[in-house]
C-alpha cells in the first residue's frame, strides 16, 4: 500500500512536471504569434510576417508534445487515483470535461487553420484562427487551474455518502485560489516563453556566419520579447505576492511549511523570514537558519508584528512531513530567487537596448551578454516547475485540502511492478521526447527563417 502510493505520486509528479512545460510554451508562443500577425496586418511590414512563420514552426512542436504528454495526465486520474475520481468526479471531472469540450476542441480546430490555412482561407479568418488558438489555450489553462485550485481551497461543495455534491458552482469554480493562481500561471507561461524566444535568438546571434537579414530577424525577436516582458514581469511580482497572502490565509499549514516557520510568534513580536533553513530531526524547529527579523510578519500581514502560525500548532497527520516541508520550502525559495534573477537579466537587456548595443553593427561585440541569455533559456520554466512543486507537495497530506487525504485517493489493486514499469517507460519516453524537442528546435533555428516564403 505504502509503496504503490509513493509510486503513484512519483508517476503523477513525473508526468505533470514534463507535461506542463509544453502547454506553458504553447500559451506564450500563441500570444507572440498573435501579436506578430496583428502587427503584420496593421503595418504591412513583412518582417512581422517572417517572425510569425518562423516561430510557428516551434509552436507546432510544443503543441504536439503538449497533446501527447497530456493523455497520460488525463488517464491517470482514473488509472491511479480511482478513489479520488469517484469521490470528486462530479465536480473535478465536470471541469475537466469543460476543458476538453469547450477549450481544447477549439484550439485543435483553429490550429489546423493557423498551420495549413494560408492559401485556403482569407487573412481575416486566419487572424481569427490565430487569436482563437491563443484564447483557447489560455481558456484550457483556466479550467485546469480552476480544477487544481479547487483541490487547494475547496469551496461550494459538501461531501455526502462519500461523494462530492456541489452547492454553488460559482464558488467552487472561482474558489479563493483560482483567479490569483490563473493570473500567476498565465504570466509565468508568457514570461517563460519570452525567455525561450530571447534565449534562442541570442543563441542564433552568437553564430559566426550569418547574413544581415538573419541578424536583423533574431535581433527583432529578441527586442520584441524584451518589450513584452517589460509589461509582464512587474505584474508578475505583484501577483506572486498575492499568492503568498492567499496561501497564508486559506492553507496556513502549507504556508508554514513553505517558510519552515515552526513557532507562532508571540504577541508584540514579529515572525522572521529565513533565507536558508534546515529543520531538526524531530521536525519541531530549525537546526540552522539565517533570517531577517519581522520580515515574514510584514510580507504576510503587512504589519511588523502580525501573527503567523507555525508548524508546531498543527497535528502531525494534518501537515506536510519533514521531507515534504523541506521540498516545499526550497522549491519556493528557488522560484523566488530565479524570479529576481530574471528581472535582473531583463533590466540588463533593457540597458543594452537603450545604449544602442542591440544593433546589427555592434551585437557581435557582446558575446558574454548573449551567452548569458542562452543560459537563461530554462530559467522561467524552472521557476514554474518549482512553484508547482511547492503548491502540490505543500498541500500534503491532502489530495483535496481538508476533504480527502492523498492516502485515501488511490485505485484498488495497483501492483508495484506494473507501476515501476510504467514509470520507467514514461520517464524514458519523456526524456527521449525532450532531447528530440531540443534537437529539432536547434535544427529549425540553424536553418533560420525562410525569407522567400510567399505571402
Amino acid at each position: 500500500m505504502e509503496s504503490v502510493l509513493m509510486l503513484s505520486r512519483i508517476q503523477f509528479g513525473a508526468t505533470a512536471a514534463f507535461h506542463i512545460l509544453f502547454p506553458m510554451m504553447s500559451i506564450g508562443l500563441a500570444l507572440y504569434l498573435f501579436i506578430m500577425e496583428v502587427m503584420w496586418l496593421r503595418t504591412g511590414n513583412v518582417s512581422y510576417y517572417h517572425q510569425l512563420r518562423f516561430w510557428l514552426k516551434i509552436f507546432v512542436l510544443t503543441f504536439a508534445l503538449g497533446v501527447a504528454s497530456g493523455f497520460p495526465m488525463a488517464f491517470q486520474f482514473g488509472m491511479n487515483w480511482a478513489a479520488f475520481s469517484a469521490f470528486a468526479g462530479s465536480f473535478f471531472g465536470n471541469i475537466l470535461g469543460f476543458e476538453t469540450t469547450i477549450a481544447f476542441t477549439l484550439e485543435t480546430a483553429s490550429l489546423g487553420i493557423l498551420l495549413f490555412g494560408w492559401k485556403y482561407v482569407s487573412r481575416t479568418v486566419h487572424l481569427i484562427a490565430n487569436f482563437l488558438v491563443f484564447f483557447a489555450a489560455s481558456l484550457s489553462g483556466f479550467w485546469i487551474i480552476a480544477a487544481n485550485s479547487w483541490m487547494q481551497t475547496p469551496m461550494g461543495v459538501h461531501a455526502e455518502n462519500g461523494k462530492v455534491v456541489i452547492d454553488n458552482y460559482f464558488q467552487a469554480i472561482f474558489n479563493p485560489a483560482t483567479v490569483v493562481t490563473y493570473t500567476h500561471t498565465l504570466f509565468a507561461a508568457i514570461i517563460s516563453t519570452l525567455f525561450l524566444i530571447a534565449g534562442i535568438a541570442a543563441w542564433a546571434l552568437l553564430k559566426k556566419e550569418k547574413t544581415v537579414e538573419k541578424t536583423t530577424f533574431f535581433l527583432n525577436s529578441f527586442k520584441y520579447a524584451i518589450a513584452i516582458m517589460l509589461i509582464a514581469a512587474p505584474l508578475q511580482v505583484i501577483v506572486g505576492d498575492l499568492i503568498g497572502v492567499m496561501v497564508s490565509k486559506y492553507q496556513p499549514e502549507k504556508f508554514a511549511a513553505m517558510e519552515l516557520h515552526y513557532n507562532t510568534n508571540k504577541a508584540g513580536e514579529g515572525a522572521p523570514w529565513s533565507i536558508v533553513a534546515i529543520p531538526n530531526a524531530e521536525n519541531t524547529g530549525t537546526a540552522f537558519e539565517i533570517s531577517v527579523p519581522n520580515a515574514l510578519s510584514l510580507i504576510t500581514t503587512k504589519s511588523l508584528t502580525g501573527e503567523v502560525k507555525g508548524l508546531n500548532d498543527y497535528a502531525p497527520e494534518n501537515k506536510p512531513s519533514r521531507m515534504e516541508s523541506i521540498l516545499t520550502y526550497y522549491s519556493a525559495r528557488i522560484m523566488i530567487l530565479i524570479g529576481f534573477l530574471m528581472v535582473a537579466v531583463s533590466l540588463w537587456a533593457l540597458w543594452y537596448w537603450r545604449r544602442g548595443k542591440l544593433s546589427v553593427e555592434s551585437i557581435d561585440m557582446h558575446p558574454a551578454f548573449l551567452r548569458f541569455w542562452v543560459l537563461s533559456i530554462p530559467l522561467g520554466l524552472l521557476a514554474m516547475e518549482m512553484g508547482w512543486m511547492a503548491r502540490e507537495i505543500g498541500r500534503q497530506p491532502w489530495m483535496i485540502y481538508g476533504m480527502l487525504r492523498t492516502s485515501n485517493s488511490l485505485s484498488s489493486g495497483l501492483v508495484d511492478y506494473i507501476l515501476v514499469t510504467v514509470i520507467g517507460a514514461i520517464v524514458a519516453i519523456y526524456v527521449a521526447l525532450l532531447v528530440l524537442f531540443i534537437y529539432f528546435v536547434r535544427r529549425i533555428v540553424e536553418k533560420g527563417p525562410d525569407f522567400n516564403q510567399t505571402i
Partner: protein, 338 residues
C-alpha cells in the same frame, strides 16, 4: 405496483457520450487504419503521403477521445475511475501509442530521417488500435467489482473475447483506413488495395464472429439480449443490416466500382456495430453489474454540464465540419506547408 421512472439526465449523457465516442471511432478510426496500413509493405513515398493527408485533421479527430473522456469523467465518475482502474494496462498502451503518433507528426516535417517517423507513426497507430481493442473488449468481458471498487486483477482484461475483438477491430480499422484513402486521393496502390481490403474485411468478419461465439462459454451476462424480444429483433436487424452493407462493400471492392462510396459504407458498418453494442448492454455501462443510473453524478452536475457543454457541442461539430470542408477533398500538401 409502483411505476419506476427512469431518470432522464443520465440517459441524455449516455447518448451524448455515446455519440462523442462513435464520432471518435469513426474519425480517428480512419486515421488509425491509415497508420496500420503504413506498416504493410509499400513504397516509402506512399507512407509520407499518408502522413500528409492527415496533417490538418488528425489532431481535431483525436480530440473527440478527450471530449468523450472528459464528459464521461464528469457525468459518470465511477465509470471513469473503475473502468480505468481495471483497464490500467490497455490505457497505458493507448497513451504510449498516442505519444508515438503525435511525436511522429511533429518531428516528421523537420527530420531528415522521414522513414523512421513514418514507422513510428505506424507503430503508434498499432498500439492505439490494440489498446482500443483490449480496452473495449476487456470492458465488455465484464469487470469484477466489490463495494463500488474494482476488485479484480490487473490482467483480467485478457479474455478469448477481448483478443478476438481486438483482431476484429484492427482489421476493421484497416478497411476504414483504405476506404478513407481511396476517397481522399488517387491512391497509387490500386493493384494491391482491393485484395487487401477484402482480406481485412474477411478477418474482421471471422474474428468478430468468433468473438460472438465465445460469449456463451464465458457465461455472458447479456445473452438474454440476443435471445429475448424485443432486443433480439433489434439485434438481428442490425446484424442483417451489417451483413447487407458488407456484401455491397465486398461487391464494390471486387468490381472496383464506386470507390468514393466505400468510406461511407465502412463507416456505416461501424455505426451499426456500435449501435448493436449499445443495444446489447444498455443501461449497463460497466458490465456486468453497473448501470448508468448507479454511477451517474448528481442531477445538479448533469444539468450544469449540459448547460455548459450542450450549446457548445453543435458549435464544435460545425467548426470541425468546416475544417474537414476546407482540407477535406484532394488536399494539396504543396499549397499548405507551414
Amino acid at each position: 405496483m409502483t411505476e419506476t421512472i427512469l431518470p432522464i439526465l443520465p440517459i441524455v449523457w449516455f447518448v451524448i457520450i455515446g455519440l462523442e465516442l462513435a464520432l471518435y471511432v469513426l474519425l480517428d478510426g480512419s486515421n488509425l487504419g491509415i497508420g496500420l496500413l503504413s506498416l504493410l509493405p509499400q513504397k516509402e513515398e506512399n507512407r509520407s503521403m499518408m502522413l500528409h493527408v492527415m496533417g490538418p485533421i488528425w489532431n481535431a479527430n483525436e480530440t473527440w477521445l478527450l471530449v468523450a473522456a472528459g464528459s464521461l469523467f464528469g457525468a459518470f465518475p465511477l465509470v471513469y475511475s473503475i473502468g480505468l482502474n481495471a483497464l490500467f494496462v490497455p490505457a497505458v498502451v493507448i497513451a504510449v501509442g498516442l505519444i508515438f503518433r503525435a511525436a511522429s507528426f511533429a518531428f516528421y516535417d523537420v527530420s531528415e530521417y522521414g522513414a523512421f517517423w513514418t514507422r513510428a507513426f505506424g507503430v503508434g497507430s498499432l498500439l492505439v488500435a490494440v489498446g482500443h481493442g483490449l480496452l473495449f473488449g476487456g470492458l465488455l468481458s465484464g469487470i469484477t467489482i466489490a463495494d463500488g471498487h474494482f476488485a479484480g486483477g490487473p490482467f483480467d482484461f485478457i479474455t478469448p473475447f477481448s483478443l478476438l475483438f481486438t483482431i476484429g477491430l484492427l482489421s476493421a480499422y484497416v478497411v476504414l483506413g483504405y476506404s478513407a484513402l481511396i476517397t481522399k486521393l488517387d491512391y497509387a496502390l490500386q493493384v494491391e488495395t482491393f485484395p487487401r481490403i477484402l482480406g481485412a474485411a474477411a478477418v474482421t468478419f471471422f474474428a468478430l464472429l468468433g468473438a460472438t461465439l465465445v460469449l456463451p462459454r464465458m457465461d455472458y451476462i447479456f445473452m438474454e439480449r440476443w435471445t429475448q424480444a424485443p432486443t433480439s429483433y433489434i439485434l438481428y436487424l442490425i446484424a442483417g443490416a451489417i451483413a447487407a452493407v458488407s456484401i455491397v462493400l465486398a461487391y464494390n471492392a471486387i468490381t472496383k466500382k464506386n470507390p468514393e462510396q466505400m468510406h461511407f459504407f465502412s463507416m456505416l458498418i461501424f455505426v451499426l456495430g456500435f449501435a448493436g453494442m449499445v443495444v446489447g448492454i444498455f443501461p449497463y455501462i460497466v458490465p456486468p453489474a453497473v448501470s448508468i443510473f448507479d454511477v451517474a453524478s448528481p442531477d445538479a452536475t448533469l444539468k450544469f454540464m449540459l448547460y455548459g457543454i450542450g450549446p457548445i457541442l453543435p458549435i464544435v461539430l460545425a467548426y470541425n465540419w468546416y475544417l474537414h470542408k476546407v482540407f477535406g477533398s484532394k488536399f494539396n500538401r504543396e499549397d499548405a506547408g507551414y
